[in-house]
Structure formats: C-alpha cells, structure tokens
C-alpha cells in the first residue's frame, strides 16, 4: 500500500477506482439557509472523508458539495460507498444531505492534488445517474465486486453519458440498511476512530483523545474490548472495526458507576498474563472515564428523578421499571405476531442462555418479553446486538432461514434503541445489578463451546446410526495435507497463499526482512497446520481471511487466492452444527420419534 501511495505523489497513470459524491439539493438549501447548509455539508464531507480513510482510499479533491476519491481496490471503493450511504441515511434524526455516488474503474492521470482522465469523467457522469442515497457503478466495477459483495443491484442498461463516446453499462446499488450477513465483513458499520468526533470539547472527546493518544492505546482498546465483549481479542484488524467511542459507550452502559467499571475491568485483568501492565492500563482508563461518569450523573439526576421527593424515589424507580417493561412487552408482542415465533425464540433463548434449546416446550414456556429484556441488557447498542446475532448465525446451518429470523429480531429491537436516549438503561432495574450483565454465564462470548462443530459432529456420528448419517460428507484427514497443498497451488500463486496465511496468523504482511525470513522458515504445509490450530471453524477462517485480504496490497490479486484457499480447505473442517445436530438434540432424537421427524433437509 505504501508503494502505491508513494506512486500517487508522482504524476502518473494508474488504474484506480474513482468515487465521486454529490450532495442532493445543496444549492437549494444554500439559498434558503446558507449557514446551516454549509455546516451540514462540512459535517457530511468530514464523515465521508473519514470513511474514505478507513477504507484505505484517498480524497483527491473537494467539489464543494462532494468529494473526489480514489481507491486501489474496487471492492474497497464500493464497500466505502455503501457505508457512506448507510451512515448518512441511517442518521435520520440529524439533518444531512442525501448524496449520490458514482464509481468507475479506469486509468486515470494522478498527481497529489488532482486527477484527470476519462475514468474521472465517467465516474462523475455515473454519479448524476444515481438516485439520492444510492450508488451508480459501471459494469466494470460491478463485475469486479459482485462475487465479493452481496449487492442489491439493478441493471440500468448501457447509459449514454454526456461527452463520453461509448455507452457505459451501469448498475444502481442500494445500501442494505438491514443487518445483512452475506457482506457483513465489508459493510458492517465502521465506527472508526476520529470519524465521529466533530465537537472537541465534551468530556467524551477529551477522554477519547487522552486514551487514543496514550502510548499504550492498543492495550487500552484491548482491555475495553475484552471487558465489553468478555472475549479477548489480539487481532488489530478486528479491533479496528470497533471505535473506541463505541466501546467506551457500551462499557459505561454496562457499568453505571466508576466502581462497577473498575470491578469489571479488574475481573478481566485477573485473567491475563501481564497483570501488572494491564492494572496500569485499567487505571489509565478509569482516570479518563471518571469525568465522563461525573458528567453523566449530573445529566441524569434531574431527568431520572424529575419531581421526586426523597421518600418516594422507590416508587419512581418502579414506575420507570414498569414503563421499560412495557417496552419489552411491546417488542415481544411484535415478535409474537410473526409466524416464525418458535425460531425467533430459539435465537433469543440461545443468545440469552448460550444454549441451543431444541425442546419446543421449554421454548414455548419461555416468556418472550423476558428474553427480549435479557438480550437487550446484554446488548446495550444496536451494534452489540448485530455482533451477537452475526456471531450466532455463523454457527447455524440453515443460514438463509435464520438470516431472515435474525433480521426480524434486529428490526423488532429498533424501538428499544431509538428511545434509548430518553430512557437511559441505567434507570432500568436489571442493570442496577451489574453482575447480571457482566457475569460470564450471561455473556455470549463463549457460545461455540456448547455447539462446537468438532464436538457435535463427532458426537452425532456416534450417536445416530442408520442411513441418514451416511449423507454427511466425510471430513478429510488432516494428517496428509499433500492433496490440500496441491488444490491450493493448482490455481493460485503459492507465495501469495503463504503471505495471506502468514497475515492471517500473525499480522498483515508488510514485506519486512523479519517477515520474509519467517516466510522462508515455514512451508505452506506448516502454515496450513497452524491455521487449523488457530481457526477452530471454517467460518472463523473465512471471516479472518476476508478481512485480512483488504489489509494487504494487491487486493484484486489476492482475492482469487482467498477463494482458492477457502474452497480447498473447506472439506478439512467439520460442517458447522445445524440446530438438530446439537448434542442434546441428537440424544433426544434417538429416543423420541417426534423429534427425529424434524430432521433438517440436508440429511435426507
């Protein structure tokens, strides 16, 4: 990437994805309220530029009400555009402009401040064909990214663009606002640091500034992430996807007081190897967050107890509790109208109790409102909910079916989050008890233990005899990897495969001499064996590889390599368990004929 950026500085012809944005109705707004229009556009452009940075693009120039950006990967360009549209449209509460975006992939002539060439003209013309809030991409771009991203695309046919001689076939892309699993890796909201900070005076900004400027900022983030998710993550590419602001937010919502926050942080510190180092880190975090807690307490008091006499504060709390209970009931009612309520409840139950319950009676007996409440307390922000839903979905077999279920749940939970600003969860009774939300039992981080593919497939193969199991594909033997090696290198470059695996296992490859010597000390087979140890499931590897490919140079070259690796390695992983291969279910299936009749389609 550095080399590519360097070449940008010099005037030269490069192949790049050009992204052009334009605000709809900017001039009209300008004539109506100049100051407000300028403030809004500046904020929008700042946000777009921030996202452009996140996706490794470069802002080449501003056109006043839009930006001209350049990316070295078409997939990154499209992912960035989708995020821009999602971010700016999803924010319906604050006024922002609708933006049109055009993307084209072509040869352009670039120097450090400007870009010229037919490619730019086409991108600009395509932008004018885009509907407000949508994206118009040329066929070239679409062809490059269609295999990677599941897009909501409409073919517009060959377009006659002004001053362009040949017709340009183009597609209109709509950002999928709902939780979309297929392209989750690329279009999951990026809450990148710095993107959202407009005002730099609030205690939150000061805390953010202090923490992100701290020499130990990576450890700080790891510890906060670990405390929020109850899951230790060392991979910076994963951490990068969670903004510090977002993490601090969920940390504070789970821990209404400084003391509770301290307890939560130290509970994680106690499980770590470098306890002394992380105790210091915890203190740094607490020091920065204390003013925030003071500010929140000050803001809360008049709101939470508006007209309360010291005597009847309990009454008020009950009132608030009752009100919030209604909210959960409301969501529950909403869900119970759905024909798929059993599946919905199964997902809710699993997220709350981290067990895939297949006993229909138990599911039916569980109170939907209580499940909704529990899940809401586990996921104080929509992003948390999304994270957990996606995590679960990765472990289910019937993805298509459950993607719908998960989307229904995500939608139904919307009202809870949208009123969050008025009804701060701190005042809800469940959260008074910090243990409730933070104890490992209720945290979802270690879900795979219960329904881990290795456990269940081996178990189910033993437990169920007879023809139905015969259809299940045999997991290939990992003792002999010659066939796997050949399958990988038959269609792709062995060195690229090694670099990708190295990046997945360690850190994105930068080409340093140490990395080269490591690459020479291990064979492809050695790396594959490490991958088997590192990634317990195929889905795990798939998501890690898809993320890492965007952190390396030559994304377009590496993407086919990722596909080759994944296709070749898949037979060496056990199939993820479907709902009926969970151990509890299988043992029951043997005993009860009623449950066996629910065998998933893949069996027969």
């Amino acid at each position: 990437m550095e080399g590519a950026q360097q070449s940008l500085q010099n005037q030269q012809r490069v192949l790049a994805a050009i992204v052009v944005t334009d605000a709809v109705g900017f001039s009209a707004q300008m004539s109506a309220d100049e100051e407000r229009a300028l403030a809004t556009i500046n904020r929008d452009l700042k946000q777009i530029a921030g996202l452009c940075n996140v996706f490794k693009g470069q802002v080449l120039k501003s056109t006043g009400d839009g930006l001209l950006m350049c990316f070295f990967s078409a997939a990154q360009a499209v992912a960035c555009a989708l995020n821009i549209q999602k971010k700016l449209r999803g924010d319906s509460k604050r006024d922002s402009f609708d933006h049109r975006i055009g993307i084209h992939l072509g040869d352009v002539y670039i120097n450090n401040s400007d870009v010229m060439g037919n490619g730019v003209n086409i991108a600009a013309r395509l932008e004018s064909f885009a509907a407000p809030g949508e994206i118009c991409v040329s066929q070239v771009v679409y062809d490059v990214v269609k295999s990677r991203l599941d897009l909501d695309a409409t073919f517009l046919g060959p377009l006659n663009l002004k001053n362009i001689q040949e017709q340009v076939p183009a597609y209109q892309l709509r950002p999928v606002i709902d939780l979309d699993i297929c392209d989750a890796e690329l279009t999951r909201p990026f809450f990148a640091e710095g993107v959202e900070g407009y005002v730099f005076d609030s205690p939150l900004d000061q805390a953010l500034q202090a923490l992100s400027d701290h020499a130990d900022h990576l450890r700080i983030k790891k510890l906060i992430f670990g405390t929020c998710q109850n899951l230790w993550e060392n991979d910076t590419t994963v951490l990068d996807q969670f903004s510090l602001e977002h993490l601090i937010d969920s940390l504070m919502q789970r821990n209404p007081s400084v003391d509770q926050c301290r307890a939560s942080l130290y509970r994680i510190v106690a499980t770590l190897n470098h306890k002394e180092v992380y105790s210091d880190v915890a203190e740094v975090i607490l020091q920065s967050l204390t003013p925030l807690y003071i500010e929140r307490a000050a803001n809360l008091l008049p709101e939470a107890h508006p007209a309360s006499h010291p005597g009847n504060s309990e009454e008020v709390a009950e009132e608030v509790a009752g009100e919030s209970k209604d909210r959960y009931q409301h969501v529950a009612d909403d869900l119970e109208h759905d024909a798929q309520i059993i599946r919905i409840k199964k997902v809710l139950y699993c997220l709350c109790h981290k067990v895939w319950e297949t006993d229909i009676q138990k599911i039916e007996q569980a109170d939907t409102a209580i499940l909704v409440k529990q899940l809401y307390q586990l996921t104080p922000t929509p992003n948390d909910l999304k994270y957990r839903l996606r995590h679960l979905l990765h472990h289910l077999n019937r993805k298509a079916k459950y993607t719908k279920i998960v989307n229904i749940i995500f939608k139904a939970f919307h009202p809870l989050y949208s009123v969050q600003t008025e009804l701060i969860p701190m005042s809800t009774p469940g959260l008074q008890n910090a243990n409730d939300t933070d104890s490992p039992e209720t945290c979802f981080g270690d879900l795979p233990v219960g329904i881990h593919p290795d456990n269940t497939v081996a178990f189910s193969a033993k437990a169920v005899e007879g023809p139905p199991m015969g259809d299940i594909a045999q997991v290939k033997d990992r003792a002999d990897l010659f066939e796997l090696r050949l399958d990988i290198i038959k269609y792709c470059n062995p060195l690229r495969a090694k670099i990708l695996l190295h990046s997945t296992l360690y850190s994105p490859f930068t080409g340093s001499s140490q990395e080269w010597s490591l690459l020479r000390s291990k064979t492809l087979e050695d790396f594959l064996r490490e991958v088997f140890n590192y990634c317990s499931s195929f889905q795990d590897l798939e998501s890690k590889l898809s993320i890492i490919v965007h952190c390396l140079e030559d994304t377009d070259e590496n993407e086919p390599v990722v596909t080759s690796i994944l296709n070749a390695i898949k037979p060496y992983y056990a199939e993820p368990p479907s709902e009926t291969t969970a151990p509890a279910e299988v043992s029951r299936a043997v005993m009860s004929a009623a449950v066996t009749s629910m065998r998933p389609a893949s069996y027969g």
Binding site: D480, L495, D554
Partner: protein, 331 residues
C-alpha cells in the same frame, strides 16, 4: 535496453522479442510479460517478483541470482537456462520445461513444479522444501546425463507419481515427502533421509538406498526388487506387502517391523535385526538369513523354503503353518 519503461512500452506495443538483450539488474516486479521471448537474454539479478511470465521463452537465458519469487512461469521454456542461486520462492512453474537447466543452490521453497520437465537439470544444493513435483519428469535419459539433486533439501516435497528414474538423490532430505507411486528405479538414494516419507506403491527397483533413514516411512506395496537396502533403518516403518525380492538388506534395522505378505525371495538379510517382526504370510524363499536375528518374530504362514537359516537366531520365534527350508510345513 536498460530502461524498464522502454521495455514495457515496446512489449505493450506488441513487440515481444527481447532475445539476446542485456536486461541485467532491471526492476520489473509484477510485470506482465506473458509470452515474451527472452531466449539467451541476460537477466542476472533482475527483479521479477510476482511477474506474469507464463509461456515465456527463457531458453539459455541467464537468470542467476534473479528474484523470481512468486512469479508465474507456467508452461515457460527454461531449457538450459541458468537459474543458479535464483530466488524462486513460492513460484508457479507448472508444466515448465527445465531440461538441462542449472538450478544449483536455487531457492525453490514451496515452488509448484507439477508436471514440469526437469530431465538432466542440476538441482544440487537447491532448496525444494515443500515444493510440489507431482508428475514431474526427472528421468535419466542417457548414462552420462541425469537429474542431479545431490544435497538438495526436499523436506515435505510432493513427488507423487514423479518420474525420478536414475536421479541422483544421494544424501537428500526427503523427510515427510510424499513419493507415493513415484518411479525411482535406479535412483541413487544413498544415505538419504526418508523418515516419515510416503513411498506407498512407489517403484524403487534397482535403487541404491544404502544407509538411508526410512524410520516411520510408509512402504506399503512398494516395489524395491534388486535394490540395495543394506544398513537401512526401518524402525516404525510400514512394510506390508512390500516387494523386497533379491534385495540386499544386510544389517538393516527391522526390529518389530510389520512385514505381513512381504516378498523377500532371495533377499540377503544377513545380520539384519528382525526380532519381534511380524512376517505373517511373508515369502522368504531362498532368502539368506545368516546370523539374522529372528527372535520372537512371528512367522505364521511364512514360506522359508530353501532359505539359509542355519546361523539365524530363532529363539521364541512363532512358527505355525510355516513352510520350512526343507519344504515341510509346521503346524
């Protein structure tokens, strides 16, 4: 031609003949030069990392010390090219023609040489660790010409079905290599390290394996007629159904080995250690077992007809249904 732009411009204009030119030391990473002709060109120390060079003609070109890591040289013509000390780490050379090429000390780590023609090539001292040579041809054509792999590193190499007839593999490290169905007739594997190697169904007829390390190797149904296996260490190896007819196995370490259904006709097993070995149904007709240690060996159903057993150690050996040297069957 000393200018990268000039070269690329002329290639992009359809000019593909760069034969005999001096292009030494040029920086051409990721260059697309598919199908170009560089025969007899001087490309010493040229950087061609990740370049696309499929079907390129590099016959007799000088590529010594060149950086060819990650290049695509599929179906390229590299006949008699000089690749000594070149870096080909992770390169793809599927179906490339490397006849007579000089690859001494070349770095061929994890390289894909599937179906490549390496006849008469010199790979001595080359690092082929993890390389794939599946179906590659390393066959010796003439007495005077043979593929030399002496001292090469071949750990984890994939040589399934490769033709290595008469190849010089003395002292190589082939540990963990897959040589199943490989053709190793007349190959020189003296003192080679074949520990953990897979030689299932391979042909080692007339091969020289003196002093080779075959610990934990898989020799199921391997054919090794007339080969010299004197002093080989077979500890933990699997020798089920192996064909060791007319072999020299004197002094070999075969302690507790499983040799069920093995063919050991006329084999020389003098001073070999077969104690505790399982020789069920093995055919040892006419074998020479002078001072062989067969203590506690299982000879159930084995044929020892006309075998020389007079000085062998047969203490506690198990005989049941065994055909003895005189033709009598012990019940």
């Amino acid at each position: 031609m000393d200018n990268v732009e000039e070269l690329m411009a002329s290639y992009n204009n359809g000019h593909k003949d760069f034969s005999g030119l001096c292009l030494a030391g040029l920086q051409l990473p990721k260059a697309d030069l598919i199908g170009a002709n560089f025969s007899k060109a001087d490309l010493e120390r040229t950087d061609l990392m990740f370049s696309y060079l499929s079907r390129v003609n590099l016959q007799q070109a000088n590529l010594s010390h060149a950086n060819l890591s990650g290049v695509n040289l599929n179906q390229a013509n590299l006949i008699y090219s000089n690749l000594s000390d070149a870096n080909l780490h992770g390169a793809s050379l599927q179906g490339a023609d490397l006849r007579g090429a000089d690859l001494t000390l070349a770095d061929l780590f994890d390289v894909n040489l599937a179906d490549a023609d390496l006849r008469n090539a010199d790979l001595s001292g080359a690092n082929l660790t993890g390389a794939c040579l599946r179906g590659a041809n390393l066959r010796q054509e003439l007495r005077s010409e043979q593929t030399i792999l002496r001292g090469a590193h071949l750990r984890q190499v994939d040589m399934r079905g490769a033709n290595l007839k008469g190849a010089d593999l003395a002292c190589v490290d082939l540990s963990g290599a897959n040589l199943s169905e490989a053709f190793l007739k007349d190959a020189d594997l003296r003192n080679a390290n074949l520990s953990g190697a897979n030689l299932k169904g391979a042909s080692l007829a007339d091969a020289q394996l003196e002093g080779a390390n075959l610990r934990y190797a898989n020799l199921t149904r391997t054919r090794a007629q007339r080969s010299n296996l004197a002093g080989c260490d077979f500890t933990g190896a699997n020798l089920k159904g192996v064909n060791f007819t007319d072999t020299r196995l004197c002094g070999a370490q075969l302690f507790q080995i499983v040799m069920v259904d093995a063919r050991l006709l006329r084999a020389d097993l003098s001073r070999a250690n077969l104690s505790g070995a399982d020789l069920t149904q093995a055919d040892l007709t006419n074998a020479y077992l002078g001072r062989t240690n067969l203590g506690e060996a299982n000879l159930t159903g084995a044929i020892l007809f006309k075998a020389e057993l007079s000085s062998a150690n047969l203490a506690d050996a198990k005989f049941a249904g065994t055909t003895m040297p005189d033709g009598k069957v012990i019940d």
